[in-house]
Each structure stands twice: as structure tokens, then as C-alpha cells.
Symmetry: C3
Subunit: 276 residues, 3 copies
């Protein structure tokens, strides 16, 4: 395995992102859904980042300029939250900071779809969804998902993702049994992770938050940062599974493992391959 990794630069790339994150502890503003706040904050803290759940539109002019990246997740969107999301995305753009969109359950309603399409106009650096969410966004249509759960395999959404990446200018990332990342041309697949992670609520939201943190480290290489975040999160799940007895203990051990991940493990076990 070590041999394979020596010819594959992703292990050392991923380690470089994670170790920089621990060293720099960037401030990540999270405007996220009500279900995911606890897991996202704990994921970011365990990874070395400094999360801030601040979502009032009144605070964005003072606060957002000091952040290193912004996460926006529409999982429990209401009309009251949307202006703050747009304002935060706007300030991020103005100050040259990356921002990441999680279009959670975008297919649930016309309201949510319209909100996500408006947010995409504000040029997210990365968009991360499951297969159904990426297909909904790409086709601008609702009804393709099952709430926050996907009805599509990630590979089914690959063409939709490429098309969305080209039209939006964002890196597009699809979670699934393999996680895919594309800039519209290149495609890589991140193979770490395991199915039981889907039984942990907000685990998708948490990986988007980790992407926001990795992108903060090097905004000009968002493609690499996104693929690395997928693999590091999946790897933490794999290691956590060694101690877990079910989804709740997996959640705990995943966070513990993310906190403890060491260089050797990342170098040897990150598995990202090119598909383009």
C-alpha cells in the first residue's frame, strides 16, 4: 500500500492541509441548519479549526471580514435566514475569502431550490451535495431526493456535477459510496469512508464544514482541498469504525479519530484516484 501512495500525491497533500489547519486554526463562519450545529462545531474543533455559528445579518459586516471562510447550509432554511446567507456570501466575495455551499435537501421544495440557485449566483467556491441534490441543482428541478437522503448514487450525478461546475464556476463535490470532486474538467474520486456514516445525522453537513476549513488553508487550490477533506473525514470514519458498535458510537469515535489522525495514517490510507 505504501508503494501505491508513493506514486500518489494525495496522501501528502491531505496531510499538508490537515497539519496546516491544526497550526493556523482558521476562523470558519457557519450559517448552517439547526440539526447540524453541534456536529459541525465539534468536527471543526477536532480538526483544528475555530468554528463560529453566527447567523444574524446585523453581525455580518463586523464579523465576516475576519473569517477565513464561510459555510452556508440550507438544511432548515426559512425566509428569515436567507438574506444573512446572501450577505455573508457577498462579504466573503468582497474580501476574497472562499465560501462553501451545502444545498441540503434542495429538491424538497421550490422555495429551497430558488434560494440555492440565487446563492449559486453569488459564486460559491465549492458546492457539496449528495447525488440527488447535485442533480436537482443541475436540472433546476425539485423532487429528486428524499428529504436529506439521496435516491441516487454519486456516480449517477457525475455528468450533472460537471455541468454545474462549468455553469457556476464552482468546484462541485458529490458524496456517496465514492465521493467525487470536479471542476468541470478534472474528476477525482475519494474512496475513504464507509456506509454507516450515512446513519449519522448531519455527517454530510460535517464534511462540507471540513471542506470549508480545508479551503480556508489554500483558497486557490479548492479542488485539491475538497478531495483531501473528503478523504480525511472518511478516513476518520474508517478508524472510528474499528471501535464502534453502531452509528452513535461511530459518530463519537469518528470525531476522536479526526482529532488524533497522524501523518503516517494519512500518508498511507488516503485513497483518491483520478477519473478524468
Amino acid at each position: 500500500m505504501a508503494e501505491q501512495e508513493e506514486t500518489n500525491p494525495w496522501g501528502s497533500k491531505s496531510w499538508s492541509y490537515l497539519s496546516s489547519l491544526r497550526q493556523q486554526s482558521p476562523l470558519i463562519q457557519c450559517i448552517t441548519n439547526l440539526v447540524s450545529m453541534d456536529l459541525i462545531a465539534n468536527t471543526l474543533l477536532a480538526a483544528g479549526a475555530s468554528p463560529a455559528m453566527i447567523h444574524s445579518i446585523l453581525e455580518i459586516p463586523d464579523f465576516t471580514p475576519h473569517t477565513q471562510s464561510v459555510l452556508i447550509n440550507v438544511g432548515t432554511l426559512t425566509p428569515e435566514w436567507l438574506p444573512a446567507m446572501k450577505a455573508a456570501a457577498g462579504v466573503a466575495n468582497q474580501f476574497g475569502k472562499p465560501w462553501v455551499l451545502d444545498p441540503a435537501a434542495v429538491g424538497a421544495s421550490g422555495f429551497r431550490l430558488k434560494a440555492c440557485l440565487e446563492l449559486i449566483e453569488l459564486k460559491p467556491t465549492v458546492i457539496r451535495g449528495n447525488g440527488s441534490e447535485i442533480i436537482s441543482l443541475s436540472m433546476a428541478s425539485i423532487g429528486s431526493g428524499k428529504g436529506a437522503d439521496s435516491l441516487h448514487e454519486s456516480s449517477d450525478a457525475l455528468e450533472a456535477a460537471k455541468s454545474l461546475a462549468k455553469s457556476s464556476g464552482a468546484i462541485v463535490a458529490i458524496s456517496g459510496s465514492v465521493d467525487f470532486v470536479t471542476d468541470g474538467q478534472r474528476v477525482v474520486g475519494a474512496h475513504n469512508g464507509l456506509p454507516m456514516m450515512q446513519k449519522i445525522t448531519a455527517s454530510g453537513c460535517a464534511v462540507t464544514a471540513l471542506i470549508a476549513a480545508f479551503v480556508a488553508i489554500n483558497p486557490t487550490h479548492a479542488f485539491e482541498a475538497t478531495a483531501s477533506a473528503f478523504s480525511v473525514f472518511g478516513l476518520a470514519g474508517e478508524i472510528g469504525m474499528g471501535l464502534a458498535k453502531g452509528p452513535a458510537s461511530l459518530r463519537m469515535h469518528l470525531i476522536d479519530s479526526l482529532y488524533a489522525l497522524d501523518q503516517e495514517t494519512v500518508l498511507h490510507r488516503v485513497k483518491i484516484t483520478s477519473f478524468s
Copy 2:
């Protein structure tokens, strides 16, 4: 014990609900309080259902028709949330889908009591509360509880529950050292569970969510579904307690155990008895 269960159909009924839930993975819309979202979502995922925390009134016309049941919990009610709750209950009724009410801390204020009485006008399939909550609802009076905690044993609320079931047409379920379920005539008691579960915040909310999932499997037998959900949740707690050292580890092991519950355990250990 196996003998007793052979003459008692509840073990096989409960298993039938749980195994159908795992197979069908119904979509359960949860409009619930801010404290309980994480535990409810993880409970539903562990049990095999697909939870969706979607509470904006704008999304209900698009989304609610696709759900298999709706959970409404007033634990952190504000006036802004109430119209969406009513709209979701209305859509559930219109599409013949069951919906379940958790009148959390209904005795805390006149505002909350009035809201719950208005929701009951919208014909919930099941109402699940603790003893104090059921007494408050039945007497339409406040001050009988202690926030979300009960000042009454479940058995004290049995007559109130029968009366509420008759007046509302709902199955009424009371959590306590024994959990009772009544349709106004029949009464059964579910004996699984243990006192430390009350030290886990939102454990009552979580069992109401599980009731909503079980009722989705067979809406015409809500009485049986409710009693079965109580016992399955309590049984997961009993098994979890074998590994737990306190309320936080019990919470984790309960979810893990719910995920792993097997047929033999359910058949042999579910304990539901008739009281009428």
C-alpha cells in the same frame, strides 16, 4: 419468559413494525424543538426511517405530500413556528397521512396550551406526553408540570388520557415508569425502559418520533404501532444500559442498540400487557 411471549402477540407485532420500518424507510417530516433535533434524527436513522427536519411554511405544500408521516413537537414553540405546524397537520390530513403530536411542556404557559389545543383540533393520530402534559391537555389548564419534566406518575394520568382520547379521537400515550397507550377504551402498558432514560434530554421527544415512524408503517393500527414503539425504544435502552456508565453513554448505546436490535431479542423481551 419465552412462554409468556408465545401467548403474548406483542413481541411479534413489535418486530413486524421494526422490520417493516427498516425495509420501507419511510420519510418522516419533523417539526420539532431545537433541543431534540439531533437525537430525533439519529433515533429515526438508527431505526431505519428517513427523517427530514423541514419547518418553513413555504415548503409544506411541496414537501409534506411526499412524507409518510409528520411529527409535531412544541418544545421550543414560538408564534412564528405555529402556522407551519398547523399547515403540515392540515396537509397530512388532506393526503391521509398520520401525524403525531408531542405537547412538550404544554403546562408551561397559556400560549403553549392554546397552541396545543388548536393543534388537537386538527386531529392528530397520536398524542404522546408525560403524565403532567396529558393532565394539562385533558384539563386545559397550565402549571401542572415542571418545564419538560413531569410531576405526575404516568398511572396518575390514565383517566385524563382516556378522556382526551375520547374527546380528540387520537390514540393517547403517556410516558412514565410504565408507558400507557389508550384509545379511550383499551389500555395497554409498555414495561420496557429504565429510569435513567429520563436523564437524557429529548428522550421523550425521541420516542414520539419513533411512534411517528411506526405509525407510518400501518396508520390504521396506530394503537398497536404506538405501544410497539414504546417497547422497542425502551428495550433499546435496556440493552444499552448493559454497556452504559451514566446518561451520556446510555444515550449512545441506546441508539447503537436500536440500530442492532434483532428478531429474537424483540420477540423475547418486548413486554406489553393489557390493563383494560
Copy 3:
């Protein structure tokens, strides 16, 4: 060590608060941020209190008079929540009940700072923050923190804390590697706890909630109650760390340990020293 504690009254004071809490189970109203609700409720339940997350302004006249203390935490403040916070503080004052302010991330914006200064006008019994938060409050200036994380050691904020205690009339408590408590004259340091607790989101919020519970036991000795709450929470963390492998398992074992803390452990291991 036993000898030291015999000459140090804090072990028996702390035990007296904790055992009274378990016996009396006071009702604590929490108007707190969205990230912290689950951990705060579970912390209060494990310690023996009865938490109630009730934040609608409509409910305060009915509900707040029945509580034994009120916790107000501005971590995810929006303009809609502020009037209810002020109303609850006002009712607490009117009924002679203590209330505790957590000025979470007060340096994040002018809006938040102004809100906290207005809340301080309503005479909190205790204010608990990290070093950066206490400095922001004392200087009435923003930008001194990093979201919810501190850029200052607790000892750096000691003069600011004394000054804030004098001007506000509140007990002021600073979390850090040593936790300090001052009434403007006296200063004590609570030495229990460990650095990894800062990697648990909302652990600061949780200790403020425990302070609110301890203060409910004896509102006229808020200085002693606050120092005792710090040490009991820190001690639960120390014991939990014996079983933990990282921040997520520490969170779990901390709550379990708080639930199980016994007299001998509290008497022997609470470490609070005088600095004035």
C-alpha cells in the same frame, strides 16, 4: 492532599452545592444559543437540575416566575431573541430569582456588544465568559476575540473582570486554564479541568448553565456557588479524561462523571485557591 483540603473549605462547599442540587432539582430556564442546547440540557440533567429551554417572550410571564434561576446566553443572538432575554431577566429580578449571563462571542459585532451591555443593565447575578469576552465587555469594544474562542488567557482578563464586577454589581467569572471568580474585591481561582475541554463545543456554555444551577441553590452566595460550579465541572472533566480517547468521548465521559460524582471525590479533588 486530604490534609490540604481539611484546611480548605471549598471541597465541602462544592459538595454541599452539588448534593443540594440533586435533592432540590431546581427548574432552570435557559434562553441559550442553538449550538449549546443539547449539551446544556444534558449537563443540567446529569447534575440533578431540571432544565427548560423556553425562549418565547409570550411564555415568560407565565413560566419564568416558577423557575429557580435563569440562564441567558447570546451565542447565536438575533434581534428577535433579545426582547425575550430582557423580559426573562426582568421577571427574574422582579421575583428575586438569580440570573446568569453568558456573553458568548460578545466581541464579534457591535450588535452583540450593545445587546450584552443592555443585558448587564438588568443586573445579572453572575457573568461568565472567557478572557477575550470579559475584556470586550469591560472595555465595551469589539474585535478582541475569535468567534467563541478566546485570544486571551484568563489571567490577562483579571483586572477587566474586577472592574466589570464593580461597575455591574455582578460576580464575574473567567474561564481559562485557571478559572477565576471575582466580586470586584475577592478573587479565587478554580484549578480543576483540562485543556481538551476547549475542544468540546459549548463546554463554556455548559459551565455557565451549571453556575446558574448552583446559584439557584443559594442566591445570596453567588461567589461561592460560581467557584464551586467551575470546580465541579472541571473535576467531572478530569475524571472523564481517564476514560476518554479524544474530545467526543471526553464529552460523553464528562457528563457521565458529573452524574456519578461522589462526596469523597469532591472533598478531595476540588481545588480552589484565593488570589486576593
